[in-house]
Symmetry: C2
Subunit: 331 residues, 2 copies
DNA sequence: ACTTCAAGAAGAAACGTTTCTTCATGACAG
DNA sequence: CTGTCATGAAGAAACGTTTCTTCTTGAAGT
């Protein structure tokens, strides 16, 4: 394999017997050149396999069309993101960027790793920021335009796109839980905005005379932790359980079954976040339906607006529909 | 918001009353400077929020640590990649890159779109290249190091990583199909290397006296097309069907059921590519198990080796295990 | 007191583009 | 014959780094 150095604009200029200016103009269609020159230069550039260096271009201009998607990796348990949620966001966002001539870089949701990278980003989408997320500070420090999917409740001036979980959850409860019921909210893991929202939706239902609400923190997704929390809730008289997300809901369903409680006969079960798995199994679980794909597209579009310098980019709530299943049928 | 231009190395030099050389040296730890100067410069750089421009850096050196993952988007039907396969490859490859200080850019498997992008890539992983894939030519033309997951059978000099589908499929057949059986291979869509391999695995089984093999091309994944092809195969006397992949296998199972044929009683059913869904339902489908995660990690590691300039990077086959389920139990 | 040397720091080239400015030429009008 | 203009093309600056080279200074060795 010939290890020759890449042909640069200088090489083309020399080969064509013209100046670099002429080459640049000929290839970009600018300047005033007769067609003859233009074609000659193009032919030679072509023949030499000349490709302008994106880096050199970027040095002069503003950026090279890169946007980041900052998201915790998908997979197993723990704080990892659910695979289909992850895939929906990543595919839809990157497609949206692509059709605008930008390319998406996958970034870790981790400042330590981010610091090892040195990438010229035009902007970044941060997915599910935590409260006072250091990742947001990281990008702010570097003056990189940032938009979040899900909100960092502690930052008021930031721009986000989010499911309207509060309203969605309230509608879900109203549709399936009879007034006066004792409802237990089960949460787990770090605080994300949708959890806060789900709670405030449930609170507003309770405050408006829907019923009473108690909140329980699960130590983890392992069966024993979930069982402990469920027992606690049931012992306090709860006859309806609302979980933070799909995975927790599935565990709760199993735990209730193991305890011999009928769903929905003894306890009605709801999830604040829908997922395909909730529709499977003998007792499907009712849930509010998030729209990762739609959020990703909206986020990408807005971020591109910001990059183009539009001044009036605003945050947006996306309305949620509800999926009614066996675990909590319509009243 | 203050719209000041980014602080550059010149700004720091001016503020510190030293030359740019000194700033560069102080921050990078090179050159010979007394600690006093070093610290002073660092303090000022810090205070000014100075971040060296990755682009400028890249201009001088070789690259900015970007690698591409070129893969057809995941989702619905058509030529799109299966979601879990897609996610496994993208997460594992990008994680591997990340831990080496590189970041992954998601690229479309589409020359038209690639041409609109101008990104300085150190290398790229092309997932499931088609035969004589123009995408490979695209990267070759641009002198970008390229490694494929799955092979382009027409390019012999390229470097790849792949499941050993031929051996896996042959083992699968040997374990579940009795000698002398008429086996029908059903394929669909564009030719990818794993299909060629699956066929050659089946061929070698047939050639060594295992049984007879016929190959059928399905016009599409829609029920009517699948039904047509299955009818054809069964009419020719096939009592075992091997499908190209999981989705086709699922359709075939439904079609057989609709035709009133018992699986595995009347017809044994196999898939050349396993997926989670094959384990679900009353009649799980036996299959050879690909390892997208492992392939992605191997591919990333090898590509990084190539980028580092290692001369002896070789292609690798990854052995496949088989999943035995109800549709074709062990003999 | 004169050379030699090392430390500290600055200068300047190079990386590959784009773009603003300038220059030369010839045509045309006065 | 001279001044104006348009055309075609080259020159050079700028983008922000890194790194190789050079320069200055003071200290040490003879």
């Amino acid at each position: 394999m010939l290890k020759m150095r890449k042909t640069t604009i200088k090489g083309v200029a020399a080969a064509a017997g013209v100046s670099v200016t002429t080459v640049s103009d000929a290839l970009s269609g600018k300047g005033r050149l007769p067609d003859a020159t233009r074609e000659k230069v193009q032919a030679i550039a072509n023949q030499l396999g000349y490709r302008p260096s994106a880096i050199a271009r970027g040095l002069r201009g503003s950026g090279i069309g890169l946007v980041g998607i900052c998201i915790a990796p998908a997979g197993g348990g723990g704080v990892l993101t659910d695979v289909s949620y992850w895939a929906a966001i990543v595919t839809h966002a990157s497609q949206a960027f692509l059709s605008d001539g930008h390319a998406a870089v996958l970034l870790p949701h981790d400042v330590g790793l981010l610091e090892t990278l040195h990438i010229p980003l035009d902007g970044v989408i941060v997915v599910d920021p935590l409260e006072r997320d250091p990742v947001l500070t990281f990008f702010e420090d570097r003056n990189i335009r940032c938009l979040t999917i899900g909100r960092d409740v502690s930052k008021t001036e930031s721009i986000w796109v989010d499911d309207d979980t509060a309203t969605g959850v309230r509608r879900l409860i109203e549709a399936t839980i009879s007034p006066g019921t004792k409802l237990a909210f089960l949460r787990v893991g770090p605080i994300k905005s949708y959890v806060t929202d789900a709670i405030s939706g449930a609170r507003s239902w309770a405050a408006d005379g829907g019923g009473t609400l108690s909140i329980h923190q699960c130590a983890g997704l392992e069966s024993e932790h979930v069982a402990h929390t469920v027992r606690e809730a049931v012992h306090e008289g709860a006859t309806a359980i609302l979980t933070q997300n799909d995975r927790l809901a599935l565990r709760v369903r199993d735990v209730l079954q193991a305890m011999g409680r009928d769903v929905p006969g003894d306890v009605r079960l709801l999830s604040a976040a829908d997922a395909m798995e909730l529709g499977q199994g003998p007792v499907g679980i009712s849930a509010a339906r998030p729209h990762p794909a739609r959020l990703a597209e909206m986020a990408a579009a807005k971020l591109l607006d910001m990059i183009r310098g539009q001044p009036d980019v605003a945050s947006t709530m996306s309305p949620m529909e509800v999926s009614i299943r066996e675990s909590a049928p319509l009243l």
